[in-house]
Each structure stands twice: as C-alpha cells, then as structure tokens.
C-alpha cells in the first residue's frame, strides 16, 4: 500500500509564517491576487498564498498536508488561464509565478454560496441544540457567506446515530463528507477506521460495514473528533452524569486534572494558546462543587516511579525489552489491535488517571475515613481514549470503577459556562493536598517525550544517585515524529526512542518487528502527545488560519514552562509520592502496587465486530476473557489497609 509520507512533527512557527523549516531557503514567487501583486513561496497552493497575503478563503475539507483533496469546493476561486477565468479549488491549485487569481468576484461568491447551500440542504440543521453550536466550521462559513435561505430542498438523510460506545458518537446526518476524519485516521494515525462507503448521494464516511466504532479496530484517540468541522463526530458527553454526582449529597466527588488541561482550557475562554491557567482551573473546579481538586500530575510522578523501576527490572533481565510506555490508552488499544505480539513489552503500569482513581478509592478513602462506594472520581482529560479506558473491566474490581467519569477539556469548559462562572475573573487557587502535589516531571507527561524523559531522569538517579543532564534527542532520518537517543544507565548504554501519532508508532513497531534493538520506547497515540489530544479544544468558529491541529506546539511550550517553574523537578523528589510509598504501597512494584497500579492487556484483532471464528484461518476476532496475569495476586480491596 502506498501512502504519502506524513509525519506530524513539531513545527516552530513565527507569526505570519505558514511554512515549516524557516531556515530553509524557499524560492519566492509573485502572483496577482484580487488585483494586488503578492509574494508567496514556491510549492504553496493558492489558498495558502492568499492567506499569507491576508486574504481569507473559506474552506471546509482542507487540512494542510493531511487532507488536500479539493472536494468541498467551497474554496473555489477564479484563476485566469489563457485569458479565460476558470473556477479552481484554491486548496489544490498550485500558486505559480505570474498567476492571476480572483478570490471574491461575484461569480466566486455565488458559486461558493451554492456549494454551502447544497451542503446545508443535506445537513441536519439543529444548530441551536448542537454540541458544536457557535463552534462549527460549517456554521461559520455559512455565516460568512451570508446565507439566509436555502434554495435547494429535497431528500435529507436520516441515518441512525451511532453511539453504542463509551467514547465517540458518529452522527452521519451532520457529515459533510469532507473526509478529514478519514484522512487523519488513515494518513496520520494509520488506523484506517474510516473509508468512504457507497457512492454518490449515498456516500457515507464510515467504519467498515457501517459498524459502531466499538466494533472496529478504533483506538478511540479522538483525532477524528478534532478534525471534524461539524458535530458529525463528537465525544460521548457525560457532563450531565457529573452534574448529577455533584448534586447528590451522598457522593463525595473527587476531581483530577491531567497535566495538559492547565495549558489548554484557557483557549476556550479566549486566552492565547499556551497560556497557563492552573490557578483558575482549580478555582473553577471548586466553584463547580467538587469536594477535592487534585492533579493527575501527582500520579504521573507515581507512574514514573513504577515505570522507572519496571525499566530497571527489565534491564536486569526480568521481562521483555524494549519496555513500551503504556500511559496513552489510545496507543495501548492500538497495540492490542495491531501488535498483539508486543503486549508483553507494554509496561504494566496503568495510565496515571487510573492509578489516581484506584488510590482515591483505597488510600485516600481510608485516610479520610470515607466509604469508597460513595466516592465518585471524575477525571478531566485531554482525551477520548481515556473514556474508553475507564470503561475497561480491568480498570477497577467488583463494584468499583477506578475512574467513574472522564470529561474532556471541552466538556469541562461547557460545565464552567453552564454554571455561569466568569473564567477570566477567577482567582488563582492551589490544588488540594496530598494528591495535588506534583513535580515538573509530572507536568511534562502532557507532551511527547515527557514520559521517557521523566522516567529516565528517575531511573538514572535511582541507579547512580546523581541527576542527569537533559536528553538531547537526535532527529532521526527526517522523521520528526520519531526520535531516538543512546543514554547511559546502570553502566550500560541503552537506546531509548519516542514516537507520537500512531502512524509513527507503526513505523516504530515495524522496526522492532524487523529486529531493531531498543530498550525503552515512549509512544503517545496523539500527534504531539496529550497537548494534541482528541479531547482538547476545537476551533471551528475562529478563523481557522491556524487550525487547532497546529496549536499543540504552543501548548507543549507552556508545559515546559510549568516544568521549569516548579520547585520540584523530579518525580522521586515528590514528598507526597514518598509518603504514599511509606504509608500504603510499600515500595515500587510491591504486591500492593501491582494490585492497584498495574494492569494487563488483551489482543483484540483487526475486525473485532465480526465473528470470524468459523472462517478458515480465522484470526482472533473476539476479545479474550479477561484473565489477570498469573504473577499478580489480586487482593480484595476491602483488605487493603493503609499503614497509617
């Protein structure tokens, strides 16, 4: 299969600059747009050349480098070819020297209007009750074009909304067939869940056989949700359930926020991308009525301790190498579907928010004298995959789910709005203790490279008693989404690598399959890590000059700033972490730890929705029964006693 090479890597951008690699000498061209001679770079399309010149051309299907298919026809412009003006899709028409373009002629405006009217004529227009109301690209484009009346009426599809899963809802009736979900899923993530099915008016962009996402090899990363210009793909909202828990006087509602939330929530309320709003986040959560406001950063530190020890154990010959990180549930599911042979390589550590949930209902409950049955753990996550993760039967035992509800950054923002909280005017407040204390290492979990850096820092300290220098990642053969470096640990050189975006993960895994030797690999499902997560804010209504997909770099910078600003920089220095080991867990990888903080994985097959057992050579289609790994003894939770 031939797929164009795409690597979502960090792009360092300056204001007004559209293209990557600023240091590279790019050939300049001159063309005429709307009667004005403007400069552009060779290789640009007309749409980008116009944007560079300050002329906004509306578009719906275009995602730079990812989806350049010219299918929505909203970005049409008039291009003069041999004296005649022809309509061309500016997103795929190359800007060339001397080209004459008209972006706003009466003909262009009329045809654009027709295109959007046609899209709207087949779109369930429920704007006022739509989850993307006021944040919808289609709505925005329609508004900008001044559409007041839809001339074309006729059949409108009414397909069943697919919401049989716990993470993403697919509403075909709002789909405008821009195929951004398909592009991002197959070209960036290389999961290939979506394809266009049927043809013509009956075309749908759907998983095979139009199955629910829970029935196919979907990794639940939610990149499709971020890419969707309308509400055709949305997270499964559980705001109402959280309100219910908050209103229930019997419930003790504990909230935890993932590291990246503090650098992205502000965007929804108009702060510059990359603004750190930790204090406001905490006070907003208090005002919403949460009984305790904690930071997942705390269990991120704990994860580092566990994972660093696991790494050292494996380096000592106990367990498989390379160790693959497991804190990204999208990546974990990816491995379960596509690389089941590597499941033993995955770190057994649960992801930090699940560790947090497990500890809240045991350690914290005992410590505070609370009935764990009455504790509700809410996790504010940048992620749709964590919604799925929380629903895994192995995440919790018996009556307990480690985490009860997972809210995305977007859902939290909606709750804040619903409560009438003026986010701007909120005072800065501190997290509660003890599970709110975190090191800088915990914070950088939120962006690619953070986990490995934090874990290696700690492992280095544990073995040598000394702090190590910052890792210097060497870019590997132009794959900016894949990096690797040799480090010295325990007197031997080990090779660590980072991949983000499962498309890059696939390359990494193929290299492992081919026998390349690595010792420790961090993989995050989303491009850029959690800062680019599927639960992060979407920018539909703003000028999508810089679409949300490119916001992640500023967000990552902000996380780095938090790291540097924190007094504690290393996980093993975290006093709260030290204390929990003393009081409760004993030591990393203790039986208690293994019970509460570690998990196991299940091969899932590529087509889980079909029973292919009767088929010749049928592959493992069905999820195997959940049998805990033999080396872990499960202790009923009631027997867990904090050593206080």
């Amino acid at each position: 299969m031939q797929r164009p090479e795409y690597t979502p890597g960090p792009v360092v951008r300056k204001k007004g600059q559209l293209y990557d690699n600023p240091e590279k000498d790019v050939e300049k061209i001159r063309l005429t747009i709307d009667g004005r001679e403007v400069e552009a770079e060779k290789g640009m399309n007309v749409l980008e050349a116009a944007r560079l010149a300050g002329i906004e051309i509306p578009s719906l299907c275009y995602l730079r480098h990812i989806n350049e298919i010219g299918s929505c026809r909203v970005c049409l412009v008039e291009v003069e070819i041999k004296g005649t003006k022809t309509l061309q899709a500016s997103c795929v028409y190359p800007a060339t020297e001397g080209l004459v373009v008209h972006t706003s002629s009466p003909r262009v405006r009329r045809v654009r209007k027709t295109m959007v009217e046609l899209l709207l004529s087949d779109h369930h227009r429920e704007c006022t009750t739509c989850i993307r109301n006021l944040n919808c690209e289609l709505q925005n484009v329609a508004d900008n074009l001044g559409i007041r009346n839809i001339k074309y009426t006729g059949e409108m599809k009414a397909l069943q909304v697919q919401n049989e899963n716990s993470f993403i809802i697919r509403d075909y009736n709002k789909c405008i067939k821009c195929r951004r979900c398909e592009a991002i899923c197959s070209r960036v993530q290389e999961v290939n869940v979506y394809s266009a099915l049927n043809r013509g008016y009956d075309t749908v962009i759907a998983p095979a056989f139009m199955q629910d996402l829970s029935k196919v090899a979907c990794i639940t990363c939610g990149q499709c949700v971020i890419a969707c210009p309308t509400a055709s793909l949305t997270e499964k909202e559980c705001v109402e359930s959280v309100w219910e828990a908050l209103e229930d006087p019997d419930k003790y509602v504990v909230v935890q926020t993932a590291p990246s939330i503090q650098v992205t929530l502000g965007e929804v309320f108009g702060f510059e991308v990359g603004t750190v709003v930790t204090g406001k986040l905490v006070s907003a959560l208090r005002r919403l009525g949460f009984d305790r406001v904690f930071a997942t950063d705390f269990t991120a530190d704990l994860t580092i301790m566990e994972e660093a020890h696991e790494l050292l154990e494996r380096l000592d010959g106990h367990g498989k190498l390379p160790l693959l990180s497991s804190c990204s549930p999208g990546w974990v599911k990816f491995a379960e579907h596509f690389y089941p042979e590597f499941l033993e390589n995955l770190s057994t550590c649960k992801s930090p928010h699940e560790m947090f949930g497990a500890l809240t209902k045991t350690y914290f409950a005992k410590k505070e004298g609370l009935d764990p049955k009455k504790i509700v753990v809410v996790a504010i996550m940048p992620c749709t995959a964590k919604k799925f993760e929380a629903s895994r039967p192995e995440m919790g035992t018996g009556d307990f789910k480690d985490v009860d509800w997972v809210l995305t950054t977007r859902e939290l923002a909606r709750m804040i709005r619903q409560a009438g909280i003026n986010f701007h005017d909120l005072p800065d407040e501190e997290y509660d203790t003890p599970m709110g204390i975190a090191s800088g290492a915990g914070a950088i979990f939120g962006s690619t490279g953070g986990v490995i850096e934090a874990a290696v820092r700690t492992a280095y300290f544990l073995t040598s008693g000394q702090e190590m220098d910052l890792l210097d990642y060497e870019e590997l053969r132009g794959f900016s989404g894949l990096k690797e470096v040799w480090i010295e640990l325990k007197g031997r050189k080990i090779k660590v690598a980072i991949a983000h975006g499962t498309g890059n993960a696939r390359i990494m895994m193929e290299r492992l399959k081919a026998g390349e030797q690595f010792d420790y690999v961090e993989i995050m499902a989303c491009p850029g890590g959690c800062v680019g997560g599927g639960g992060q804010p979407i920018f539909g209504a703003r000028e999508h000059k810089e679409i949300s997909l490119d916001y992640r770099h500023n967000r990552a910078d902000a996380l780095d700033r938090i790291d540097f600003s924190r007094e504690l920089r290393r996980a093993h220095e975290n006093p709260a972490v030290k204390k929990i080991y003393e009081e409760f867990l004993g030591h990393p990888l203790s039986d208690m730890s293994k019970n509460l903080l570690h998990t196991y994985y299940t091969p899932r097959g590529k087509e889980p929705g079909l029973n292919l057992g009767g088929m010749k050579g049928g592959h493992a289609g069905h999820v195997k029964e959940n049998i805990p790994p033999h080396d872990t003894q499960y202790i009923p939770r009631d027997e867990l006693e904090p050593k206080i």
Partner: protein, 197 residues
C-alpha cells in the same frame, strides 16, 4: 447499491451468512460449514495468485463473488486480512462498484439494461412489469430467493434494445409478455423441483 440505513446489527449477529444456514434443518449445518471452508480454500488460491501484484483487490473481490455468489462481510474481512488491506478500504471498494453485491442473489437474476437506447425503446415499461410481477424494487431479491432484479449499464447490444439478461443470457427486443412468461417458467420449475424432493 447496498443501503446501510442502520447499523446492520442483525446481520452481524449471525454466525454463518444466510444461504449457509439451513432453515429448519439444523442437522445439516456441519455440511454447510464445510462448504464455507471449501469456499475459503478456493478464495485462498486466488488471493495467492493475484496478491503478488499490486492493485489486484478488485479482481480478488470479483473472484470471491464468483465463489460465494455475493460478498459476505466475512469474506471481505478475510480478503482484507490476507492482502494486508484495511477492512474499511475493502468495504469501501465493495460498496463503490455496482457489480459487487453484499447480499445473496436470487436463483434467477433478471438484469434489465437501462442504457439510453434501451430506455428510449421502453425499458422503463419492462421495469414496471418486473416490479409489478415480483413486487420488488431494482436491486432487491424476492423473499423466496428466487428472483433478483437489477438494472445494468449498457451492455452494448443496442441493436436489440430493450434488453433483458436472464442469468447471463441476453434476451433482445424484450416485451412485457415475454417477461411474465420467463417469470412463470422459473416459478413452475421451482415448483416441480420442490415436488420431486
């Protein structure tokens, strides 16, 4: 074209596609499963024959349709697995081309040419007759699995328009009366066959 109005849950729950489930005779099931197995063996041969070259998905699907009579989801997933193609892509290809059918066809396939020449020579009337006689729409199969009606693209025998293709056999200058006769003939044949058993 196949319509997926709903999630198609019903079809996914069954273990073996419809034609291989013997109604009311569960004791025959192992036999049918064997046939199923045999068909996959045959499909394997074609896959190994064609998968060497790139871009042969369509011909593999055509062969699979020849073998199974249609393209059950299981066969699509199997081809996906064996050729290393995402199953969504295979399903996308299957639903794109009108010659692929994802549902079993009736014993008697009635394909009516709807090319322009046939149309302006009265193919629509023939279609109305078919619909009227069989009480199904184009693209559907009768409940007794006897007839499937489809419209085809121009088969290029415009001199004989309008054209009805009955199980691959071309009937030129087709008339409504003739169609009724063909239908009756098949119904009778089916009757006498069931009496024999």
């Amino acid at each position: 074209m196949v319509q997926y109005a709903h999630t198609g849950k019903e079809s996914r729950e069954r273990e073996i596609p419809a034609p291989f489930v013997s109604e009311g005779k569960p004791e025959q099931k192992p036999d049918k499963e064997q046939t199923w197995e045999k068909k996959f063996n045959e499909l394997d041969r074609y896959i190994s024959l064609y998968a060497k070259e790139p871009g042969q998905l369509i011909i593999i699907l055509q062969k699979a349709q020849d073998i199974f009579g249609y393209l059950p989801e299981e066969a699509q997933a199997y081809i996906a697995e064996k050729t290393g193609t995402p199953v969504s892509e295979v399903n996308g290809v299957v639903t794109f081309y009108s010659l692929f059918s994802t549902e079993p066809r009736g014993k008697c396939a009635l394909d009516l040419c709807m090319g322009t020449a046939c149309y302006i020579k009265g193919a629509q009337e023939l279609m109305d007759t078919l619909k009227d006689q069989l009480q199904i729409d184009a693209g559907e199969t009768t409940a007794d699995h006897l007839f499937t009606v489809n419209t085809t693209r121009c088969i290029g025998a415009c001199g004989l328009a309008p054209i009805l293709v009955v199980n691959g056999e071309v009937h030129g200058n087709a008339k409504s009366g003739e169609i009724i006769k063909i239908i009756q003939k098949y119904r009778k044949g089916e009757d006498s066959e069931s009496k024999k058993h």
